[in-house]
């Protein structure tokens, strides 16, 4: 299949994302910002809004989420061309909310990752009527995302495991709706969503929130340059389309996912120059953690050992106790510099950042679910019981959107929340369901023990945190630098809201997902004030940008 980008014909693989097509052709810059900066793929999962392009005249489309399913005309998004007034959607008669269709399933699950799918399956097994809404083009979430490009390599073990879960869910009579973006949650229990056909509302009896997490930012000079992307984004290019983010790749971050990415990219023929891990090297001092991990998830430990040996064999340098400190454009590519135990520079095409995750808790917060602040991880944790029950009646939460635990914990918690939500509806559990529930409780506990040991081992030295320079971008959307925030502080602004007013920080398309946490950390350092559950920006609807055209169009049945 051929698509057109800025008048140039490009060969594309049907089913892959537009971002994958462009990346495969070495195109990394997709748009120019208001201030003339170049941007491309960053998060790869529809969160950062940096990869915007114009598709067939429709502005501001996320290249990472647009699937190439037809020949399309794509243009770079300029600093914002005025939208065309013509087209089939031009000037529809105004509607009121009464015209928007309402669905009333017994159980709504938001998110079709491992946790959401497991929750849907359990609730259905217990007899509940279940609707799953997922923003992705196919179920699986980030961990179980399937290969969407036609005719590429056969699925690997992780794909297959996900496929089995997806097939189980679809076969059980659960309704799974992909390409459905839940953009708002309203009290007491109403969800607003769009699908390609338009707008619809869901008023479930029970809601299970399984919205997962997104990669944290790593604000250093150059982190907004095209070619600098999250580990998750690079993995999505590979796992959904078997496209490499580039030929020469540096991976920097904190955690085992970076090693997995290195192994996948090496298998795809990339030259991974190094994996730069912030945590210190794992020596004999780690015997306790390793023993705990072996006792709880030996297969995952075996995976880790395999990743390490594959990297060594492929000549990937493994550097511990160091972090990325800057990226600059350099002879058509990028020059990335690291510091810490080792100081070095690498000339590469692509830099992948994998410095942990941030929970996607926006819907939970919009519904008023109670949260606590975890000072060590510097993020909010949803308050809930062992079955996922939140402080709001009828709202259950699980997995990475509550606190980071990974896919295995999410899946086990999903099963527990699914059964619990069904119980709340009055469903009686079969003996088999009770057995699965007990199994899930044990799995959840086991994988949490594994995660605790894993993150003790991967704990990074806080002194390695990079002190950003004044010209480092804090807010990607509004292009606000650390220097501007400092100037606002000097002008007398003290709170996040005043800094927002002074600088426009956090007012862009991504809804402060990256700069919000960065600002909190910065303010804590600057003012010595401690963070708590009330710090930072309150969530606002829409939690994801939503097109007025979609809002104004009642979805068909």
């Amino acid at each position: 299949m051929k698509i057109e980008f800025e008048g140039e014909a490009l060969e594309a693989c049907p089913g892959e994302s537009l971002a994958a097509t462009l990346t495969a052709h070495g195109i990394r810059s997709f748009r120019t910002t208001e201030r003339g900066a170049e941007r491309g793929v960053f998060c790869g999962m529809g969160v950062c809004q940096d990869c915007l392009v114009e598709v067939d005249g429709k502005p501001n489309q996320r290249a990472c989420t647009v699937k190439v399913d037809r020949p399309m005309k794509v243009r770079r998004e300029g600093s914002g061309r005025a939208p065309a007034a013509s087209g089939p959607a031009a000037g529809r008669p105004p509607i009121t909310i009464e015209e928007i269709p309402v669905e009333r399933p017994q159980v709504l699950v938001v998110g079709a990752g491992p946790g959401g799918l497991a929750a849907a399956y359990a609730a259905r097994l217990a007899g509940a009527e279940v609707l799953v809404l997922d923003e992705g083009s196919a179920p699986g979430g980030q961990y179980f995302k399937q290969c969407s490009a036609a005719g590429v390599a056969p699925p690997d073990a992780q794909h297959q495991e996900g496929r089995r879960l997806i097939d189980d869910v679809l076969g059980s009579g659960v309704t799974v709706r992909s390409n459905a973006s839940v953009w708002g949650a309203f009290r007491p229990l109403e969800f607003a969503a769009t699908k390609p056909g338009g707008s619809f509302l869901v008023q479930p009896e029970q809601a299970i929130i399984a919205t997962g997490a997104f990669d944290r930012g790593w604000p250093v000079p150059g982190w907004t340059l095209p070619g600098v992307m999250t580990t998750g984004a690079a993995q999505t290019l590979w796992r959904t389309a078997r496209r490499l983010p580039g030929k020469r790749v540096l991976i920097a971050g904190n955690g085992p996912l970076n090693l997995q990415l290195a192994v996948e990219l090496v298998a795809g023929g990339a030259d991974v120059v190094a994996v730069v891990e912030a945590a210190p090297a794992m020596g004999v001092r780690r015997v306790r953690e390793i023993a705990a991990m072996l006792a709880n998830a030996p297969r995952l430990v075996a995976d880790g050992v395999r990743y390490l040996s594959t990297c060594r064999r492929a000549g990937v340098r493994l550097i511990n106790g160091s972090v990325l400190t800057s990226v600059v454009p350099h002879s058509g590519g990028l020059r990335a510099t690291i510091a810490g135990r080792e100081t070095a520079s690498f000339d590469v095409d692509v830099v992948c950042l994998g410095y942990g995750f941030h929970p996607s808790n926006e819907l939970l917060r919009a519904l008023g679910c109670e949260h606590a602040f975890d000072p060590e991880q510097r993020r909010l944790v949803t308050v809930r019981d062992t079955r996922g029950k939140t402080s709001v009646d009828g709202v259950w939460a699980l997995g990475d959107c509550t606190t980071l635990g990974g896919a295995r914990v999410g899946q086990a918690e999903g099963t527990l929340a699914g059964f619990a939500a069904a119980r709340a509806l009055g469903c009686a559990l079969s003996a088999e369901a009770v057995r699965l529930e007990a199994q899930a409780a044990a799995d959840a506990a086991r994988h949490r023990r594994f995660q605790r040991a894993l993150w003790r081992m991967y704990r990074m030295d806080e002194s390695l945190r990079v002190r950003p320079t004044g010209d480092t971008v804090m807010c990607r959307c509004e292009e606000v630098t650390y220097g501007q925030v400092e100037a606002a502080l000097a002008e007398g602004a003290t709170s996040p809201s005043e800094i927002k007013q002074e600088t426009r920080l956090g007012m862009g398309r991504c809804q402060a997902r990256y700069c919000g946490p960065a600002l909190e950390t910065f303010l804590a350092e600057q003012t010595g004030r401690s963070q708590d559950e009330t710090s930072g920006f309150a969530p606002r609807v829409p939690v994801k940008p939503v097109s007025v055209g979609d809002l104004s169009n009642p979805a068909g049945a």
């Binding site: 914002g80 005025a82 529809r92 709170s495 007025v548």
Partner: protein, 386 residues
């Protein structure tokens, strides 16, 4: 949004205290401090932002208000002459502060979708002209010359030349910097629970202790109701929570403040390229009534109407919604001294409070300073509510 540290130290005894740090409170405090007064602002929430302004510069009578309160139209008309002056004063203030408010007065269009609506606008424009406003009616062909972005359903519009918009974020930031520069003490997150006389001074019981002041200016929007009670005034002020939406930025293509003859809507594009959609759709007050929350039906109804009038908006995405609190007064604003209470003043601008804010503040500041204000404040006197 949480703002734990807008609260500076609370003054114990001060010459002038201004209760409320919205557009009125900020400007009154700034004007007084510029004349050497010692001034403190006490705000229950976050100064310049708890009730959130959207940045329309209104001049013509808003059809929303005329429909909802036809009985109050004569009262409203008595203050109409202030509107073009208020817009002019915004420009003056921008020059005075050497700041950029994103001001643009390129005219406001109130669109009609039927003959009947256009006739209504024609009568309205005639009345407004007799009151000194620059208003005229345009047919569709004339509209195509100046506003090609309007949808096919629009048959004509009233053009009011003095209307426009400003970027409230820029303006508020500049005003906050200004009041700090001229020495105003600003204390946020401090509610004033009770005001009483204490000898020759005012005593304010606040959530963070007692403040005494020789001069008191009440500029607390809907909160002014309880503060004015001890002075024997029953103000007709209300909390009207309103819903707002904003799109992602795009090239400038909407040149006017756009309203509708028969529907609640304002559409304008800020200098930053964002399109702001509002115009009186309801929001909800929180149970404690101290903040407003957005309403789903308003997001749908308001944005859907916007794309009907300006179709290209259908191509844009909403990136944020918020709710603010409007303070209708049942007619013109409430400005000036409280009779029988020497050194106590009220400063509530009424409908289109943001547009009228700086000029209203100037008039009140002049009376506080014992000067003769440039406008006759009799129609705005607090005494009418005794």
């Amino acid at each position: 949004m949480h703002s734990p540290t807008t609260s500076g130290p609370l003054p114990r005894d001060i010459q002038t205290v201004v209760v409320g740090g919205g557009i009125l409170g900020l400007c009154v405090a700034g004007f007084l401090a510029e004349e050497g007064r010692e001034v403190a602002i006490i705000d229950a929430g976050r100064p310049e932002g708890t009730t959130t302004n959207a940045g329309s510069l209104h001049v013509q009578m808003q059809s929303r208000f005329m429909r909802m309160h036809p009985d109050q139209v004569p009262a409203l008309e008595s203050g109409l002459h202030l509107y073009p002056k208020a817009v002019e004063f915004w420009f003056e203030l921008q020059r005075h502060l050497d700041a950029d408010f994103g001001l643009k007065a390129s005219g406001g269009l109130m669109v009609a979708e039927s003959r009947e609506q256009l006739d209504f606008l024609a009568k309205k424009a005639e009345r407004e002209r007799s009151l000194g406003l620059d208003s005229k009616i345009l047919d569709r062909d004339e509209l195509d010359q100046i506003a090609p972005y309007l949808g096919p359903a629009v048959v004509g519009a009233e053009l009011c030349a003095d209307e426009g918009r400003l970027d409230a974020l820029k303006a508020n930031t500049a005003l906050r910097r200004w009041v700090r520069r001229v020495g105003v003490m600003v204390t946020g997150e401090t509610s004033v629970d009770r005001v009483s006389r204490d000898g020759g001074r005012f005593k304010l019981d606040t959530s963070r202790g007692t403040v005494r002041a020789a001069t008191l200016v009440i500029a607390a929007g809907p909160g002014s109701l309880t503060l004015a009670e001890p002075f024997g005034l029953t103000l007709p002020v209300e909390s009207e929570p309103l819903h707002m939406n904003i799109t992602e930025p795009t090239d400038l293509f909407i040149g006017h403040l756009v309203q509708h003859a028969d529907r609640m809507i304002t559409v304008k594009q800020l200098s930053s390229g964002h399109v702001v959609i509002g115009g009186g759709w309801p929001a909800d007050l929180s149970p404690s009534e101290d903040y407003a929350a957005v309403r789903l039906s308003s997001i749908i109804g308001n944005t859907s109407l916007a794309q009907h009038i300006v179709p290209a908006i259908g191509r844009l995405r909403i990136i944020r919604t918020w709710a603010g609190i409007n303070t209708p007064t049942g007619g013109p604003g409430i400005l000036g001294p409280i009779h029988g209470a020497p050194n106590a003043f009220l400063a509530i601008p009424g409908e289109a409070g943001y547009t009228l804010g700086p000029l209203s503040a100037r008039l009140v500041a002049d009376t506080v300073l014992g000067r003769r204000p440039t406008e006759d404040l009799a129609p705005f006197s607090p005494s009418r509510f005794r």
